[in-house]
Symmetry: C2
Subunit: 331 residues, 2 copies
Amino acid sequence: MAGVSTATVSRALSGPAQLRAGTLARVTKAVQQTGYRPNIAARTLRAGRAMLALVVVPDIANPFFSDVLRGIEDTLSRQGYGLLIGNLDNGRAKEAKIVDVVRAGQVDGVLLLNGRVPRGGNQSLLQAGVPLVAICEAVAGATFPQVDVHNREAARAAVAHLAALGHRRLAYVGGPPRNVLEQERQAGFREGLKAAGLDPAQACFLPGDFTFTAGTAAATSLLALQPRPTAVFAANDEMAIGLLRTARRAGLDVPGRLSVVGFDGIEFTDYVEPTLTTFRQPRRELGQHGAALLLRAMLGEAIPPNEARLRLPAALLVRDSTGPAPKEEPA
Amino acid sequence: MAGVSTATVSRALSGPAQLRAGTLARVTKAVQQTGYRPNIAARTLRAGRAMLALVVVPDIANPFFSDVLRGIEDTLSRQGYGLLIGNLDNGRAKEAKIVDVVRAGQVDGVLLLNGRVPRGGNQSLLQAGVPLVAICEAVAGATFPQVDVHNREAARAAVAHLAALGHRRLAYVGGPPRNVLEQERQAGFREGLKAAGLDPAQACFLPGDFTFTAGTAAATSLLALQPRPTAVFAANDEMAIGLLRTARRAGLDVPGRLSVVGFDGIEFTDYVEPTLTTFRQPRRELGQHGAALLLRAMLGEAIPPNEARLRLPAALLVRDSTGPAPKEEPA
DNA sequence: CTGAAAGCGCTTACAG
DNA sequence: CTGAAAGCGCTTACAG
């Protein structure tokens, strides 16, 4: 091309410091003119690194993840790493595909946002030989780094907020039973009741799955209860919004006769009527911290135990969907 | 391993029909037992195909795209193709990265959801030598296949709907000026006014950028107008929702004193108060059709011109945010 | 500081 | 129907 070997071109692109200034300049110019781009497949094959991380999300349609992804991408791209998104569509069927991609050497590390280690056939991702980091949803018993918020404490704080407003009959709308967020938030809800001198056995627990429709269904159950709870904590915002809307359509004043608290702090909670009291998770920061840990692990560093468990704060946003408990009880 | 050459293993995995049943069985068993997975980088390098398509989205945070992505993934994965997501974060800065990925041979084709052909430095994606297909947002003057909805006709229908309800003073909240959806929808809005015997020059045009906040700002402008329009068509749902909420907070009854129409039909439109009249785009189908065309092109087929421009219907969903024009005009 | 050469792990004509 | 062999396009010890 411009008088050098392919080895020199390779060095010009990967470690310019190794070359004499003149040589580097000539190569750079030739690269510019020809528009040469190194073939990534060949590089990956030879170097044994793909410069790519896989992000496993339970559901790409959930707006909660978009900011998390942005935080991840920020951090990875700063170090020259790309990002591959693996979407599970809220099921386990696609886990095998995830494991395949990793075992085929396509990525150097995996960021799990789905609360469990994907399995494919008889292989677990743990055996794939790449570093793992979990964020948002912690994986029980994991030995790899994890970053999330204090879900349990936040749920306790939700109950404290409602109890301070005078509410005594509370309801809880849950996520999928085996989901770690559901487990932590429900546990926190129960602890909060006890702390407020209330009996968890007297509370009402409604099933859900983190969707709008689950919130709608929960509202219908709730409206039929006698006596009706005066406050409800939903394990995420979508369900809280579905519930809010259905309760109001049925003529129930929120927060006049029913207070509602959600979880996550998606942007949408500020556009419903009334605006939703919820916990804001620091989404972008969750992504950034998780990606930073993964980068360190991908570069071969062992993450010391005291840095392997990061918990970021979840802030309570008191808005219009919570208010004082009604004085007169509904019949 | 189990008595055969690597060539035979390769054939067992890619074209099982070429082998004798016994041989195939032995290889399959060995693959099972060892958990062997072919290295994708090596395969890509040798075969010259990555079995991967790149999907370029303007903003992954926009919930509009999640169903589109699902449709794309459905269709691609059925043919063994994977999907790489390239997020532009609503800017042009990341376009160069897109071009690089393609020129580095990492993907076999590109699906553009961003309404323009990405450019990087002095290179356009058009010169990258892989097939392109645009969906959702058409690319002006493109010679590659495109799939979208009849944006202009839908916008006309929005005006017709409002005119039939007696509205004479209409406002329009737009997207970014250079966005093709904005251009088509605004053009349709103007045509609709003329068709209803109204003068576009008398209508009110408010700027926007497809975000909630733009809708909020537009509402503020709108409320200050004298005389105030009685109906507004926003170029997408987010802006319509931001506008709706701000107008109501300011005490304006919707649809009593102001009717609002959005565009896209995101799930959220059914959870605001009042529910939003909007156009539903067949999101999943847009993705499926686009991916199907791209698959054909990636397999080397030339798409005949009469199949290269697909337009799917956008259905008007009449909900609670539109109603008869107020009888008495506000002062 | 630079080049010649080996080799990453596959696939696929080419023989047989 | 199966194997031996070449080669995809890089990177990186190894020399010099």
